[in-house]
């Protein structure tokens, strides 16, 4: 069982404090009473202590960042590889919204082109402080439970006994680490695969592209769009597990992998089902273009509820993808050396069974009748 170290209150007037220091790292051992960090306001600095012996599983704040009093700062487990608990009663990716913004908050939202529904409120009304916190965290505040994705790099918590140098991870590398760690520690992944004749899809995409004068082949976006349609028909595909319940997302947010140089992005097309096929294709191409220029915004790289990936360009015959956090299925497209198409799917077996995943792939193998 994991134990939380909460952000302490320094005085009655400050509901937020600055994380001034941390003396721990993920994977390090702590003992009861050990000082793990400091928080401060403009009036005082207070040490934060561990309440139990154990290993640091996750740190949910960064030095110099603002953290909310009472929120979980550190998860400590009895073993180094224990899973980090999800926040109670908060569905993954859910936005704790519905609070009306104050006038000033409304103006600030408009200034940044944001919708009140994107920003979580800390109280009954959405305040300027809420919006500023949202902006300061690059939108991460909209997905509180995603911050609880375990961040343990590996079960090795000490430097190997061979000379070397520790390097800090880039932000996208941290994202990849969080994804594979969720996949490893939380999901129960299975994998199924089918082969298919790619000719009908190729023909369909070519006709679609010609009809709309598209520069890029719309093949993969159209296959991803078909997945959107299937997810809209079968909510279990667009779901995850929270506690002992299935959480079915209200929107289909497709995460589509985009390789941009050395960086692999999961570009997210939000509320995909509302776009229609052409809107989805052009929207995804726009995301891909901005990914190629490393110009994606925070909301365009998080909140995926389902995933699609292709490694056809790498000429691999099999591609077993990692599940993006809090998704039930990630479809992988590839082309085998003999030219046949291959569709695989990694699925979270807590949500779907193998036959459901296979049935989804079989439906994806064929395009709609006419573009």
């Amino acid at each position: 069982m994991a134990f939380a170290i909460h952000v302490p209150r320094i005085n009655n007037n400050d509901d937020e404090v600055k994380l001034a220091g941390l003396q721990i790292a993920v994977g390090s051992r702590v003992t009861k009473g050990q000082i793990v960090g400091q928080v401060e306001t403009d009036k005082a600095v207070v040490d934060v202590e561990a309440g139990n012996d154990g290993f640091v599983l996750a740190i949910l704040g960064e030095v110099d960042a603002t953290v909310s009093v009472g929120s979980v700062l550190v998860w400590v487990g009895q073993t180094v590889d224990e899973a980090v608990p999800l926040p109670q009663g908060t569905p993954p990716g859910a936005v704790s919204t519905s609070s009306a913004p104050t006038a000033k908050a409304g103006a600030l939202l408009a200034e940044h082109g944001l919708d009140a529904a994107q920003v979580p409120a800390s109280g009954e009304r959405l305040t300027v402080a809420d919006v500023e916190r949202f902006l300061a965290t690059g939108g991460a505040a909209s997905t509180p439970s995603r911050a609880a994705v375990p961040a343990t790099a590996s079960k090795v918590d000490s430097v190997p006994d061979v000379a070397g140098e520790l390097k800090l991870l880039k932000s996208e590398e941290k994202g990849m680490l969080a994804t594979v760690t969720w996949h490893r520690d939380v999901a129960v992944p299975g994998y199924v695969e089918v082969s298919y004749d790619p000719a009908p899809w190729d023909e369909y995409a070519q006709t679609f592209g010609q009809q709309h004068g598209l520069l890029l082949s719309p093949l993969l976006p159209l296959m991803a769009w078909r997945l959107v349609e299937l997810a809209a028909e079968s909510p279990r595909l667009n779901a995850t597990i929270v506690g002992s319940k299935r959480y079915e997302y209200a929107e289909v947010n497709v995460g589509f992998t985009v390789q941009a140089g050395d960086v692999l992005y999961l570009a997210v097309v939000r509320n995909s089902a509302a776009l229609g096929p052409l809107g989805f294709v052009t929207g995804l191409v726009d995301l891909q273009r901005r990914a190629a220029g490393h110009k994606l915004g925070p909301l365009e790289t998080q909140g995926a509820t389902i995933g699609f990936s292709s490694m056809a360009r790498w000429k691999v015959s099999r591609h077993i993808p990692i599940l993006p956090p809090h998704t039930a299925i990630m479809v992988a497209h590839a082309v085998a050396p003999d030219g046949s198409g291959v569709l695989g799917a990694t699925y979270d077996h807590r949500v779907l069974n193998g036959s459901e995943a296979a049935a989804t792939l079989r439906k994806l193998c064929k395009p709609p009748k006419a573009p």
Partner: protein
């Protein structure tokens, strides 16, 4: 970057060859008027990478409505489009 048509095409080709090489392809035979998407040397992701490089290298932005085969489908078209955008054509 040099805004001479031949230099632009040479730079574009060098970038295409580089992208194609990452896909185990050799695009050194690509012709200036050959349709890039249909050439088979680079795929859609590679084409996006190429356009991203094109914008960054020449410090301009291709609007979504001009993201067409006519403007960007060949190396020759890309060079002509760039020169028009820069007012040098």
């Amino acid at each position: 970057m040099n805004l001479d048509r031949a230099s632009i095409i040479a730079s574009i080709k060098a970038e295409i060859v580089k992208i194609a090489a990452t896909l185990d392809g050799d695009a050194s035979d690509l012709q200036p008027d050959e349709l890039i998407p249909a050439s088979g040397y680079i795929d859609s992701a590679g084409l996006l990478e190429l356009i991203g490089w094109f914008e960054a290298s020449y410090d301009f932005r291709v609007p979504a409505e001009e993201f067409t085969v006519d403007n960007l489908g060949t190396m020759d078209a890309m060079a002509g489009y760039l020169l028009r955008r820069k007012g040098a054509a």
